[in-house]
């Protein structure tokens, strides 16, 4: 999806324009991402998120609004912990904005919590500990998973007896 890239390449040449555009982009993305991740958590309600973040539901409602602009890092940190994700903040190049604009959709905004993060699931942890099991990484079936675990168990026994 690159329907906006051409005209953005031109319009973002103007400094005032690009900072105004980016402000709108950042505000609307954050508001939308809070809502998207909340809904990703088994349809968590605003009230439930408010309870986990020790905020009022009305506050969550205000934050989940594309016109909200008074973001504070401490508030975002509380939301991050309540949603089970990490907050990152860093400076980016303008080129990154182009691809971020193009990938603004529900799927791209979703973030797994720690328990569902593929980088930390059991098979990944096993592969990290025993890289030779990496050949099984692309196999998704239960049979392959059993094989991975059997290999892991065998390796552990080998280590224990050596």
């Amino acid at each position: 999806m690159n329907m906006y890239r051409g005209r953005l390449m031109k319009e973002l040449q103007d400094e005032d324009y690009r900072y105004a555009y980016d402000e709108e982009f950042a505000n609307s993305r954050m508001a939308t991402q809070i809502k998207v991740i909340r809904e990703q958590r088994n349809g968590m309600t605003q009230a439930q998120l408010a309870g986990k973040a020790d905020m009022r539901q009305s506050r969550i409602s205000a934050l989940e609004n594309v016109d909200y602009s008074a973001w504070s890092i401490s508030t975002l940190r509380r939301l991050a912990q309540a949603l089970g994700v990490r907050l990152t903040f860093k400076f980016e190049s303008w080129g990154d904005l182009l691809s971020e604009v193009e990938s603004f959709n529900r799927e791209a905004l979703q973030v797994p919590d720690f328990e569902n993060d593929p980088a930390f699931n059991e098979a990944e942890v096993a592969i990290a500990a025993f890289p030779e099991l990496g050949a099984f990484k692309e196999h998704k079936s239960a049979r392959d998973f059993v094989q991975v675990m059997a290999k892991l168990e065998e390796r552990e026994h080998g280590l224990a007896s050596s």
Binding site: D14, Y21, E24, F104, N105, R106
Partner: protein
């Protein structure tokens, strides 16, 4: 899901003299509000009205919503779903400058009148949205 990756078609209201009222209004916007409007219309076009929370705010008119452009001076663009194809089209009806965060009296009623006009004569009363670029003497369709 409707709000994920499916493109919506945006239309501009055309008045009885055949002028694109949204294009005329957009051309008068300063650089910063125009940039903010562009981003909001991109969201509307690329994800529809339901993904981004608060993108569309209700008005006194049941079928008319508004897109707010916040800034030193605030603006609002009044829009409606459809009114022909409700699941894939939005029509931009009327732009206005707000005062004390309020629309000028009669603005929502005027937008509703335009919505009815479009509903009754979609060929004559609307056209595909025209993007007004910055600088605003250059325009492209879509």
């Amino acid at each position: 899901m409707i709000d994920s990756g499916s493109f919506w078609t945006l239309f501009d209201y055309v008045d009885r003299r055949g002028r694109n009222a949204i294009k005329e209004w957009s051309r008068e916007l300063e650089k910063k509000p125009l940039a903010k409007l562009h981003r909001k219309l991109e969201i509307l076009e690329s994800t529809g009205p339901d993904l981004a929370p608060g993108l569309l705010k209700g008005t006194r008119q049941r079928h008319v919503d508004k897109i707010k452009i916040e800034g030193r001076v605030s603006f609002a663009l009044l829009v409606c779903r459809g009114p022909i194809s409700m699941q894939e089209e939005m029509t931009l009806l009327l732009g206005a400058q707000e005062s004390d965060r309020q629309l000028p009296p009669g603005t929502e009623d005027a937008a509703e009148s335009r919505r009815i006009e479009v509903s009754e004569s979609p060929i004559e009363r609307r056209t595909l949205h025209e993007h007004v670029s910055w600088p605003s003497n250059e325009r492209t369709t879509g």
